[in-house]
Structures are given as structure tokens and as C-alpha cells.
Amino acid sequence: MTLLIVDSMTWTITVLGWFIVFLALVFLIGVFLTVPKILNWSLKRSLRKKNKDNVKEDESDDAWTITGETNAAIAMAIHLYFNEMHDEESNVITIKEVRKRYSPWSSKVYSFNNVNFPR
């Protein structure tokens, strides 16, 4: 059977193929929506076991997640702290006097040949 010039087998491959791609990725979505929940749950459980007094029972999920913005702010602060550390300084600003010092490298004396003229 043909539909719009193309035979039914081609239509089958088209529809089924796209459906399978969708299915595969939807399946992955399902798994990756579940994985963080499982990890969070196991993390909470192990923390509760370790330190029962410090962890409140009614803490919501939000308490365990740190947003990207918070992380970025912490990272920036650490970066600034480590990169802008200075040694102990006197905080006295002085201007050094510029003096022309004698330097023999350009001394005129050395630019002449010590050759006597014939007398």
C-alpha cells in the first residue's frame, strides 16, 4: 500500500523509529529524575544515622540542595580570597627620588682610541 508516494513500510519505519527514539529518551528522563531522589534519600538516612541530634526530622528537600548561584558565590569568594592575599605591608607610600648616577658604560673616555698622533 502506498500513501503520498511512499510505501507503508517506509511510513512504519518513520513512525516506529521516531517513537523508539522518544521512548528511549523518556526512559532515560524517568531514570534520571529518580536517581537524585534515591541518592538524596540515602544521604539523609546515613546522616541521620551518624548524627541523630543535629538533624531535624521535618527538614524539607530544599534544605539539602544548594543552588548553582550559591555555589557560584562561594566559589567566587574563595577565588578572590586566594588570589588577592597580600604580604604584610607598611601602607606608607613614598616616591623615590630620581637621580642621575654616574655609569661608566657610556663614558666618553672609553669611546676614544688611545692612539698617539705622529709628531
Partner: protein, 417 residues
């Protein structure tokens, strides 16, 4: 030195004078009379002439060489995928230098050096190695933090299947149509992998079309984005992705590998290598291997792949009406894929509420073309709102597009092989 050049010049003028006015015929007649030094020399020159590219040139070769030069121009002048277009452009020139057949020179001549290098393309060796490198350099965190964006990668694969239909309607065999359809995946290595299996004769045209359109993503996508997404939707700000733990990052390639290859085992070489590369990166204990995969190895394979794919476009194989059809279908498939991703993103927004809404522009990144299409999304987003940075969000559908197109390739392979 000057004297030597003058002497050589005079000698060569004297020598060439004898050919004026039916030189070669006279030379042939002279051979019968008796062999002289001049006869031997002219015979040698004639042989040499027959070996040169000038004697064997055909106008189609010149057209292809011009195309190769155009690719190089595009890469240098406009910075369109230079890492791909320069090797491919040079390859196109290399493959179209005219030569006398039978001396193990050309890419299609058994035993030639280029033929040995081409083995990696023919047997689909290079694409999985490229995928290994891509896996080792890709950060899947944006995808893991917001997995629902993965669906956009699936939506954009509509380009593959629409092109498959279009190619079938234009009279290509189902295998050829499948190989042409994968251009819509906007993924060079996948296109080469699938076409080497399904339609080796069309591989040159398919690969060139796929890489050309990938390079032209910044030109093709923006008008479609502006056409489909209204201005107020382009300014939607998405909430920042959550931080992803190391355990999740390590689990992603393992789970992804198991699930996708169980669903579509034919895509094992591509997805296996992609997730393996990512595991090397995320495991944190194989930094040396990950470093090699994402730098030296992928660079070497890109050079070999580019030059051989370029050289496979010998004029007599490439300049056909089929190639023109493939280029036409490729352009349409890119547009359909982009539109598919964008429309699906708008559809998704109907079901999402509050700050969970997504900026529909990121749907365009569902065509793989990593990371160019994500960059285009960022660029378009900034045009609508200079404070709206969509790059990280767009990377999620972008990398899921890579997975989606590899799965689609596996499905087409299992249906059509």
C-alpha cells in the same frame, strides 16, 4: 646563477621549438628512422605529460577543486567549523587532482595510501573514536540537573525521519534514504557511520552535506527561531540548574550506556564509546586517558576523517544528480529538525508552570551540532534580553541530541540492514 638560468632557458626554448608545427607526429616519424637522443627525450617528455594532472584534467575536477577552495575560504574567512572544513576542503582538492589510473594513487584504488586511510571511514572505525573524544570532553551536568530537557533532543530527531520519508519519495532505496535521513541528526560522525553501513556509494555526498550544514548552523537556525518563537517567549528566564553531585555524574554514563544500548544495540559502537569517554572523564581516576581521548586522539582522528572524507568526493563519484538531491534534502532536514525542537519546546511550556517554564529557543539546540547550535541559542537569547544567558540550558538538549541521533542511527540500521 644568473648565467645558469639563462643557459637552461635557451636550451629549453631550443628544445621546445621542434614541437611547433606537428611536433609529436614528426617525433613519431623520426623514431622509425632511427633513435636519437632527442627522440628519447621527447618520448620521455610525452610520457611525463601524460602522467601530469594537466593531461588528465576534466572540468568536473576543476569544479570540485573550486569547492574545496571555497570550504577553506569559509573556514578561514568566516570561522565556520575550521577544524572540519580545512581538512575536508584540502581533502576535496587532494581527491580531485587528476591522475593516470592504475598506479595506486587515488582513494578508490586498492593499495594506495589514501585507500588505507579510507579504510577507517569505510568500516566505520573513525566515528566511534570521535565519539570517545566527544564523551571525554562533554559535561552532562546540565542534562542531569534538568533531565526533562532531554525530550527536546528526541523531538529534533524528527528531521531524520522526515528526510527519510522525503528521500524515499524522491526514489532512493530504503537503505539510501536511511543514510540520507541521518543528515537531519546534524551529527557528522553518526552520518558517516550510518552511510558507510547503509549506502557506501553516497557516503561522500552525505558526509559533505552533514558537515557543511553543521558549519552553516549559525546561518540556518536564527531565521527559523525568530519565525517560530514570539518575542515575549524568547525572553523567558530559566531557573539556574541545580548542582550535580559526583556520584550522579559517574552514574550517568553507566546507566545511559546500559539503557540506550539495550534499547538499540546497533548504536553500540557510537553510544558505547560516547559513554565510555564520559566515564573516563567523570571517574576522576583516569585523567590521563580522558586527556588523551579529548585532545590528541580526537585531533588525529579528525584529521584522518576530514582528509579522507574530503578525498572521497572524486568528481566522477560526487558530481551526480543524486548529490544535488542529497544537498537539497539535507537543508530541508536541518530546517525541519530545528523547527521540530522549537515547536516541541513551546508545547512543553503549555504543561509547565511558574519558574519551571523553559525558554523555547533552547529547542533549536536539540539538533546535535555540538556546541554550535547551543551557541546560536545563547546568541539569539542575548539579542532578546542581554541578561539572559541560555548556554548552559541549551547544552542539555544539545547533548541529548547527540544521544538521540545515535539511537536513531541504531534504529535505522536495525530496520534497514
Amino acid at each position: 646563477m644568473k648565467r645558469l638560468i639563462t643557459l637552461f632557458g635557451v636550451l629549453s626554448i631550443l628544445f621546445s621549438l621542434q614541437f611547433v608545427g606537428g611536433g609529436f607526429e614528426a617525433m613519431a616519424a623520426g623514431t622509425e628512422a632511427g633513435d636519437t637522443f632527442m627522440d628519447h627525450a621527447s618520448k620521455g617528455l610525452e610520457m611525463f605529460w601524460n602522467f601530469t594532472g594537466f593531461a588528465n584534467a576534466h572540468y568536473t575536477n576543476l569544479i570540485m577543486i573550486a569547492i574545496g577552495l571555497f570550504f577553506i575560504y569559509l573556514a578561514i574567512k568566516y570561522d565556520y567549523e575550521p577544524l572540519l572544513l580545512i581538512p575536508i576542503g584540502t581533502g576535496v582538492i587532494l581527491g580531485n587532482i587528476p591522475f593516470l589510473a592504475g598506479y595506486k594513487i587515488g582513494l578508490y584504488e586498492e593499495g594506495s595510501v589514501l585507500n588505507y586511510l579510507y579504510f577507517g571511514v569505510q568500516q566505520g572505525v573513525y566515528p566511534p573514536l570521535i565519539f570517545l573524544g566527544i564523551g571525554a570532553m562533554t559535561d552532562f551536568s546540565s542534562l542531569i540537573s534538568n533531565p526533562k530537557l532531554m525530550i527536546l533532543g528526541a523531538a529534533a530527531q524528527v528531521g531524520i525521519f522526515a528526510t527519510f520519508l522525503g528521500a524515499s519519495a524522491l526514489g532512493f532505496t530504503p537503505q539510501e534514504a536511511g543514510a540520507i535521513g541521518i543528515i537531519g541528526g546534524a551529527d557528522g560522525p553518526t552520518a558517516i557511520f550510518l552511510s558507510s553501513k547503509l549506502a557506501p556509494t553516497l557516503m561522500g555526498a552525505i558526509a559533505i552535506a552533514a558537515y557543511s550544514y553543521m558549519a552553516l548552523v549559525p546561518v540556518i537556525q536564527p531565521p527559523i527561531m525568530r519565525l517560530i518563537i514570539p518575542k515575549h517567549e524568547r525572553t523567558i528566564k530559566m531557573k539556574p540548574p541545580r548542582a550535580v553531585s559526583k556520584t550522579e555524574k559517574i552514574m550517568f554514563p553507566i546507566i545511559g550506556l546500559l539503557l540506550t544500548t539495550f534499547i538499540s544495540p546497533s548504536s553500540l559502537p557510537l553510544l558505547g564509546m560516547l559513554f565510555f569517554g564520559n566515564l573516563l572523564k567523570e571517574s576522576g581516576v583516569t585523567e590521563r586517558l580522558a586527556d588523551t581521548a579529548r585532545n590528541s586522539m580526537i585531533n588525529i582522528v579528525t584529521i584522518l576523517l576530514g582528509i579522507t572524507v574530503g578525498a572521497s568526493t572524486q568528481a566522477d563519484y560526487f558530481l551526480t544528480t543524486d548529490s544535488l538531491k542529497i544537498f537539497g534534502l539535507g537543508a530541508v532536514s536541518f530546517m525541519v529538525a530545528t523547527a521540530g525542537g522549537l515547536i516541541f519546546a513551546r508545547l512543553m511550556n503549555l504543561f509547565l508552570k511558574g519558574d519551571n517554564k523553559i525558554n523555547p529557543l533552547i529547542g533549536a539546540a536539540g539538533v546535535s551540532a555540538v556546541p554550535d547550535s547551543a551557541r546560536v541559542v545563547q546568541h539569539e537569547g542575548l539579542k532578546s534580553d542581554p541578561n539572559n544567558h541560555l548556554l548552559m540550558h541549551a547544552m542539555a538538549p544539545n547533548v541529548s541530541g547527540v544521544i538521540g541521533s545515535a539511537v536513531a542511527a541504531g534504529i535505522l540500521l536495525s530496520f534497514l540492514m
